[in-house]
């Protein structure tokens, strides 16, 4: 079995200010070499805080994180040699060109002039950036800047790469390009931990993923395992004009053997069912009395897994 690269144990982070916020509430995770691991959760679930602690930019309230066996709190400077980070926002050095961003990053990690130059040129070629080597970051589009950030993050050949919401703010085309860049890293044997609130991204990129919310891991496994365990369900989301007298309908639906759960929501009704055969007409008929405005059907996917686990929509 591949060696453990990231070990997160009983990690908590509490921000004590006017408002006490428990950002991370006892997370345990283990990543093995070469896997692409997704942290999936809505905004504010604790993903970025977890990454910040693992990458030595925040201190945990309790618990430990080891990267390649090195405790990140006790030996942050040493741990950083194994860590590559692609932050949520563009943090490229605005005073340096694209080439210089890569070159000096290598120098920060102890490369000689010749090594740093060779590595920077190699990365420019690998990420199709050679033509833009003398451009300054302020002139780059979001997608290109993200590519430079990924190139920079792996320049010192880290053992593990952290990608924090890598596709936030990217257009669909750049997102696809970013995905293929991450897929490409798999060949280099780099372990990747990425956070996202895009289901498709988590589903298509990760070998394994953890769904987290309110600072806790709710489910852990490969996308297929998660779908098989929690998500072989279809979700019906109904928006209704009137909610008066809805309880008996909810109770009737709940009583059906093919319905897993039925509940009233703020503006309608949500039904989760193992099979949709024959159910749809009955639901529509029951709802029509309340003025059905809209109906959304979500086929079994990570999204239904997520909604079932957290009771809320990722995009809320």
């Amino acid at each position: 079995m591949n060696p453990l690269i990231v070990e997160i144990e009983a990690l908590t982070k509490i921000y004590e200010s006017k408002l006490r916020v428990v950002a991370v509430n006892g997370i345990d995770l283990e990543l093995r070499q070469g896997e692409i691991f997704g942290l999936l959760g809505p905004n504010g679930a604790g993903k970025t805080t977890t990454i910040s602690i693992a990458t030595t930019r925040a201190l945990p309230t309790s618990g430990t994180v080891r990267i390649a066996g090195i405790d990140v709190v006790k030996h942050p400077a040493h741990a950083r040699r194994h860590i590559g980070v692609v932050p949520q926002f563009n943090t490229l050095d605005r005073s340096l060109s694209v080439y210089e961003n890569l070159y000096f990053h290598c120098r920060y990690f102890g490369f000689s002039h010749a090594q740093a130059k060779a590595r920077a040129l190699e990365l420019l070629a690998q990420f199709l950036l050679t033509e833009r080597k003398d451009v300054y970051p302020a002139q780059l589009s979001g997608g290109l800047a993200q590519r430079v950030q990924i190139a920079r993050a792996i320049a010192h050949r880290p053992t593990v790469l952290f990608l924090d919401e890598p596709s936030a703010g990217l257009d669909p085309q750049s997102r696809m390009a970013m995905w293929s860049a991450v897929e490409g890293l798999r060949k280099e044997g780099i372990t990747v931990l990425l956070t996202t609130h895009y289901m498709e991204e988590a589903d298509s990129l990760s070998d394994r993923l953890a769904i987290i919310d309110y600072g806790k891991v709710l489910a852990l496994g490969s996308p297929e395992e998660l779908k098989a365990t929690y998500g072989a369900h279809t979700l019906f989301d109904l928006k209704l004009k009137s909610l008066d007298g809805l309880e008996p309908v909810v109770a009737t639906l709940k009583a059906r053997p093919d319905v897993t759960s039925a509940e009233a929501t703020a503006d309608g009704l949500r039904v989760i069912a193992a099979s949709s055969d024959g159910l749809l007409p009955d639901i529509v008929q029951a709802a029509s009395r309340f003025g059905l405005r809209d109906l959304k059907i979500v086929e079994p996917s990570l999204e239904t897994v997520f909604i079932q686990l957290t009771g809320r929509d990722l995009r809320e």
Binding site: R57, V85, D93, F104, F109
Partner: protein, 289 residues
């Protein structure tokens, strides 16, 4: 394909035979320094203008124009036993050059990098303890401060109507004062850069930098205050710029009455340590949550 495996071979070599322990720290520190040097050399002319314009104009107005207008110079002779104003303000202008370039080299870039772009993140993620990242900023700014201070000397030789009477007896003291004063200015820059909101950085100049300059024994020797305005001579002792000006006075124009060199050095070291640790705390607070 062949090519890429070869490159990977090089990579693992870097990892296995690469520098360990303090070796990597030193190289990372050097890398940061080289980065700053690259940015500075690209903007060398603006840098020279930034640090040179103020002393140039100051010398031109007060030691060239006003003396030529005869009695119009209110600060002309009469002070410190007939010493010309140029000789009095040469060390003072060097101190101001040191302080301004220290603040410009640390506080302004830091407050921008801490701001919306978070550019500091990549340098914070290099394999160095965080205090060393802050120390690099201070050291680099010290280098700029020393250049800025030395730049004032030729100006003071060529511009004033009455020649400046500078004579350095003790080069060691001059070097020591220059280095300490420059580190002190960088530490002050670190405090400002890491504690002041980027939007208010302009305000800091008017409510902090300008007052400590004017009350920093730049345009008059401290001995003059002791003689004429004793209460002020005590009050300004809390101002680190005083020791920068007086230290340079002791080493560049020793003929003018100045504080004892030992007191100056102790004060410079004290303020550098105090401001440095305050600035470092601010820096850590900004990069580590």
């Amino acid at each position: 394909m062949n090519n890429s495996t070869e490159i990977r071979g090089q990579g693992s070599e870097i990892r296995t035979v690469g520098p360990h322990g303090s070796g990597i720290f030193l190289k990372a520190f050097l890398g940061l320094f080289l980065r700053d040097l690259r940015v500075l050399t690209r903007e060398f002319l603006p840098f020279l203008l930034r640090v040179g314009m103020q002393p140039l104009l100051f010398l031109f107005v007060f030691t060239f124009i006003l003396p030529r207008m005869g009695g119009a110079n209110p600060m002309g002779g009469g002070m410190s036993g007939g010493v010309d104003f140029g000789t009095i303000i040469l060390p003072g202008l060097m101190a101001v050059a040191i302080m301004f370039s220290g603040i410009a080299a640390v506080a302004l870039p830091l407050s921008a990098e801490f701001g919306i772009t978070r550019e500091i993140d990549d340098r914070v993620m290099c394999p160095l303890p965080l205090w060393a990242v802050a120390l690099e900023k201070v050291c680099f700014s010290a280098m700029q401060s020393i250049i800025a201070a030395l730049l004032v000397i030729p100006m003071a030789y060529y511009i004033p109507a009455v020649p400046v009477r500078a004579n350095v007896d003790n080069w060691f003291l001059l070097a020591l004062v220059l280095v300490l004063a420059s580190l002190l200015a960088g530490s002050l820059g670190l405090v400002i850069g890491s504690t002041v909101n980027p939007k208010q950085i302009g305000l800091v100049f008017s409510i902090l930098v300008v007052p400590i300059t004017f009350l920093g024994c730049v345009y008059y020797p401290w001995a003059g205050l002791v003689k004429h305005i004793p209460w002020l001579s005590i009050a300004v002792l809390f101002n680190p710029i005083v020791y920068m000006s007086e230290g340079l006075r002791a080493s560049v124009t020793p003929s003018i009455e100045h504080m004892h060199w030992a007191a100056i050095l102790v004060a410079l070291v004290f303020f550098t340590c105090a401001l440095g640790s305050w600035g470092l705390r601010g820096f850590l607070g900004r990069v580590l949550s």
